[in-house]
Each structure stands twice: as structure tokens, then as C-alpha cells.
Assembly symmetry: C2
Homo-oligomer: 365 residues x 2
């Protein structure tokens, strides 16, 4: 049976049977005007102590717990909600420590705005779910930006909602939070080259959003920005390095890739450039399985600079990316745009960190 919202309100107040008190009720009870009662709660205007007390008491007497956020948000034109849009299924997004850190920074940055984070995924099958279109958003942050998202994006921007993109391209006038992926990866590659390595293999992140595992050939299109940029950085130094794409950023994927790479004992590389720390951890494990010592027989570099749970005593040679700062910057950009100031794109730089997983190339056999 269908129930109106009004009915439900009555039902849910079991004690009195009356509907919930509004700020007008409180005002009446306190003998002041609704506007005065309002400012007592919002604090936007000074109120005498005596009046404040009367209002607060009245509120307590009526069981009024504060202004209804819905009504407030309508009037103020702000909902205090920032949408975070993921390309992938929400559960899998948080498997990535980098995204987790970003969320952390983002949460930090929007909290002072009085805003919260609403989780959204781009593909809405039923059409009934919440989406960029139907959610009461003040702003949106996109993590990556697949093609499917582009169209919704246009509508959101038409609605006048500020949008920021992290690690992705959403068009020229959308502020972007990025990384110097190519330069950073080149740095790691140079490090290996300086150590004497000449035979190097690359383990990449997925080449396409739903990418399968496998060797990348020259004709394979790499659709994911991050993957392409980091790969380019590696190829800048080792133009002929073979590249094996993982199906995701997981230790197990790195392990599988490593097995493949170390399979042929005759053509083993002396170093592996992995595009993420998790992949690197898997590669190291594969190396151990193949009887290779790290870094004596084979060097491995990662990317991200996260703490890989369970990798001790290894400390990855890796590129530390300021993941939390990226999230924080996105939050700051959102804040700026909410103020009316147009936000600029930002490009963060990674810092190279040498661990104990890289060493001089072994003497040629």
C-alpha cells in the first residue's frame, strides 16, 4: 500500500501522534518569531542570552532536535554534499590503497566546508539509483574519467555544479589533479640504467578499464591515462622493454605477471619496473619462487609509495606519490569553486625513494 511522507511522519512519532515540531512551533512556544528562533540555531546573527535560552528550552520541551537539513539546504542553495564518482564498482575501488588515501585527503579537505562525501558510481543500471543527476550535490569529484562518464558530466556542469577530476581528462575547462607520471617513471628507469641494467621488463596497470592480463604489443591500445603515461616514462629510457599488463593493481596480479616474465630462464630481465607497489610486491614474490634473489639477481621498482602490508623486510624502491595530498587538493579545488573562484589544475610530482629492492645489475652470464 502506498503511504505519503506525511503519514509516515505521523506513524514514526509514536509518543504523541503529532507530527514533528518545526522551528515555527518552537518559536511560538518560546514567544519569539521564527526568524529569531532560526538564528538561535544557525548563529548567523547575535541573539541575547535570555532569548537564546527561552528558544533552547522551548526546543527541548517540544523535542525539537534542530533544523531540518532538507529545508535548510533548499533555502541556502547548498546541501553540504560532495559526490565522489568512481569508474569501478565501489567495493573494488577501495581495494586500492592509493584511492583509499585519496579519500582520506578528500575527506579532510571537505570537512571544514561542512561537507560530506557521497559515494557514486558512474554506471547506473536501473536508472532509479542516485546519480550525478538526481543527488543533491554541491560539487563532484571524479576519480578517473571513462568515456561513459563524459555525457553525465556535461549535464552536471550544465546544472552549474563544480567538478574536479583526479587522474583523468574530462575536458579542458574541468580542473584536473594529476601526477607527473611519465617523468617520475622515467626517473626510476634511469636509476636502473645507472645501476647497469639493460634487460628490463615492465609490468603495467590495466591497459583498458576492463583490461585482461597479457603482453602488450605495439598495436595494443592503452586507454587508461595512468598506464600509458607511466609506460611512456619507462620506454623513454628502455625503448625496447617488453611490457606485461596486469588485470588490476594486486599482489596476485604482480605475481602472475612475474611468473610469466621469469618463465623463460634464458631471457630473464635483470630488472622489472612495476607500475604499482602492489604489482611490485607480487613480482618480488614470483622472483623468490623462481629462485631469484632480490635485488642480487633481479631488481624491482614499484610506484605509489604506499605501505605494502606483508612485504617486510623488503622496502621497495619506488616513486612516492602524494596520494593524500591529491585528495586534499581536489577538496581545495572544490572549495575554491564553491566560493566562485575558478580553480586551477594541479600537477603533483612524485619523489623517488630508494629501498632495498634495487641493486647493481648482475654480471652478464
Amino acid at each position: 500500500m502506498f503511504r505519503t511522507g506525511y503519514d509516515r511522519q505521523i506513524m514514526s512519532r509514536q509518543d504523541t501522534g503529532t507530527r514533528r515540531a518545526t522551528i515555527s512551533d518552537v518559536a511560538r512556544e518560546a514567544g519569539v518569531s521564527p526568524s529569531t528562533a532560526s538564528v538561535v540555531f544557525s548563529g548567523k546573527t547575535p541573539v541575547s542570552d535570555a532569548t537564546r535560552r527561552r528558544v533552547l528550552d522551548a526546543a527541548a520541551a517540544l523535542g525539537y532536535t534542530g533544523p531540518d537539513p532538507r529545508a535548510a539546504s533548499l533555502r541556502r542553495g547548498r546541501s553540504g554534499i560532495v559526490g565522489v564518482v568512481f569508474e569501478e564498482h565501489i567495493g573494488t575501488a577501495f581495494l586500492d590503497p592509493v584511492k583509499t588515501l585519496m579519500m582520506d585527503g578528500l575527506a579532510d579537505a571537505v570537512t571544514p566546508l561542512g561537507a560530506g562525501l557521497l559515494l557514486l558510481r558512474d554506471h547506473e543500471p536501473t536508472g532509479s539509483g542516485p546519480s550525478l543527476m538526481t543527488a543533491p550535490l554541491d560539487a563532484a569529484v571524479l576519480i578517473g574519467c571513462s568515456g561513459l562518464l563524459r555525457e553525465s558530466l556535461e549535464m552536471v556542469r550544465a546544472r552549474g555544479i563544480p567538478v574536479v577530476v583526479i587522474e583523468g581528462d574530462a575536458g579542458d575547462d574541468v580542473p584536473r589533479i594529476g601526477l607527473d607520471n611519465r617523468e617520475a617513471q622515467r626517473q626510476a628507469a634511469s636509476h636502473l640504467r645507472a645501476l647497469g641494467h639493460r634487460e628490463v621488463a615492465v609490468v603495467t596497470l590495466p591497459a583498458r578499464v576492463d583490461g585482461a592480463r597479457g603482453w602488450l604489443h605495439n598495436d595494443t591500445a592503452v586507454n587508461v591515462d595512468v598506464t600509458r603515461e607511466r609506460l611512456a616514462g619507462a620506454l623513454d629510457v628502455f625503448p625496447d622493454a617488453p611490457a606485461f599488463a596486469a588485470a588490476g593493481s594486486f599482489i596476485d596480479e604482480g605475481f602472475a605477471a612475474g611468473r610469466e616474465i621469469f618463465a623463460d630462464a634464458d631471457r630473464r630481465p635483470t630488472a622489472v619496473i612495476a607500475q604499482s607497489d602492489l604489482l611490485a610486491a607480487g613480482v618480488i614474490r614470483a622472483a623468490e619462487e623462481a629462485g631469484l634473489r632480490v635485488p642480487d639477481d633481479v631488481s624491482v621498482t614499484g610506484f605509489d609509495g604506499i605501505v605494502v602490508d606483508g612485504l617486510a623486510p623488503y622496502e621497495l624502491t619506488t616513486l612516492v606519490q602524494p596520494a593524500t595530498d591529491k585528495g586534499r587538493a581536489a577538496g581545495a579545488a572544490v572549495a575554491a569553486m564553491l566560493e566562485g573562484t575558478p580553480a586551477a589544475s594541479i600537477r603533483f610530482t612524485c619523489t623517488f625513494r630508494e629501498g632495498n629492492t634495487t641493486g647493481p645489475a648482475p654480471a652478464a652470464a
Copy 2:
């Protein structure tokens, strides 16, 4: 300088300088009443095709992108937002694969409601941030329930907002989604006992929310429900088993605990009951480091039944908990309460899964 919301709207429409079109504008343009225009978008009432087209065309002409969610939510009394409250810092919450899975199930379950998930943490330092009190929530789901939360909780319930708790106790009339922690853990312990193990150690989850690492003594208060229940299950079978509390559910924590447990070669247990799979993975690694083979020299059981990235080729003997289902059930409970039906508490059961990390107790030395 301070800007009103109205000003901002004007500013952000650079093209016309006029404020955004409302549904009344669209109705006027289309020559119909606002109510008719409204139903064209909501679909709540049948509309003739001709009218629909006129309204849609008018909307397109005016650049109207659909009803303002804020206004809609005020009128309907629903915002389409379900708050998810974590005890811990949001970034760390997602490090736990179980929570991640739960979020997945929860997202699944609330999507058909047309609702989204708003991330909240309980402790609001500034007081300015969004909170249970100020966010436009239709319902709230608490993950765990520390004491600090209890007071906010009362206010939320006073506001008539449905609340569900996962793995925690929030009072008798708050529906609870739980697990048969004690019985399940007892099952694992019995399994070990049947295999002949007599010297068994337990590695527990944190004993308190901010718990430190260390041996649990009889006088140590265990405040975390999950930890206490699982420990009780283990002690049901091995009353004298020593217990070492980890500081979190991580492989590295399990590793540290394992080192401690295997330190004294004379008093090594033949089996370790870990309260999570991640801890178990760490214990296994510590065992390997100590030169012990799993399961020949020492058996290890986990809890959760998640995929531990990088643990291959081991397959944990563990208790598989329906994490996704828990989230889904929470969503269902929320849905029920939103309908006005009181939701019942649910207790899920774990299923025992034997892997290759447990085996017969080694012959006594």
C-alpha cells in the same frame, strides 16, 4: 567577502546572466501548469505524449536539466541518502577487506531505493563538519558502535531516522546485523582439537578501539564486541590458551604477533587461532621466518574468508563470513524501516572452510 547563494547562482550562469530556470518556467514556456510539468519528470502520473513532448522541448530550450534535488527532497521528505558511520578514520576503515565487502553489499541494497551512501565518521572535531545531526539523512548505518556514538545516536533516533547497526550494540530497539562469532570460532577450535592440537595460541583483533599490541591477561578488559565473542569461542575449547592482541587487522600485525608467539622455542604452540584472515597470513609468515612449516609444524586458522592478496599458494582454513550479505541485510533493514515496517535483527552464520593451513598436530617432541 560574503556572498549569498542567490548571487552565486547568477554568477555561475555566465551565458545568460539570468538565474537557472525552474520547473515553473518550463511549465509556462510549454503552456502547461507546473504540476503537469512536474509529473513529466517524475513519471508519477500518466501524461499524454503530446504534452510530454512539449514540456521536454521547453525544458531543452530553457536549459532546464531536471528538478532540483534539494527542493524535491524537502517536499517528499526523503533525501535519498543513507549515512554510513565509521568508528575510525575513513581512510583506515577501507583497509579492512571485510568492511569493503560490506560497503559493496550495502551499496547494492540501497541502490534500488534510489539512495546513495554518505560517508560519516563519528568524531567531529570542529563541529562544523557534516554529522549525524546536520546531514540530510533518510537513514543511518553504524559500523560498530563505540560509546562516543551512543549519544549522537539518541538524537538521530529522536529525529525519527531509522538506524541499523552492524557488528555492535546500540541498544535494544536498534536492529542489529550480527554474526555467530562465538559459535563459529568454537568450530575452528574444535577442528584443531580434533586434529590433536593441545597447545594453542590465539591472536586477537584489538581489544579496545585504540588498543595496543600485547598479551591479553585475565584482567584485561576487552571492549570490542567482535574480539570478545571470538575469543570466548576459542576459550570454550581451549580454556587456557594464551591470547595476543594485535593493534589492527593487518598482515604486519599478525606477523608481529606470530614472532612473539614463536619466539620461545620451548613453548611453541602447535596451532594458532587468528581472529582474522589478515592476521593469520601474518602468523604464517612469522612461522616461515621461524623455520616452521605450515601446516606440518604449526597449524593456523583465520576468520573472515576473504581473499588474502599475496598469500598463495596457501589457502587458509577459516570461517567464511557472509560480509557482502551483511551489508545487503543492513540495506534491506533500512529499506524496511523506511517503509514503516520495523526491521528485525539478523544474525548471520559463518561457514567453516578447511584449507591447507591446518593439519594433524605434530607428534610430541
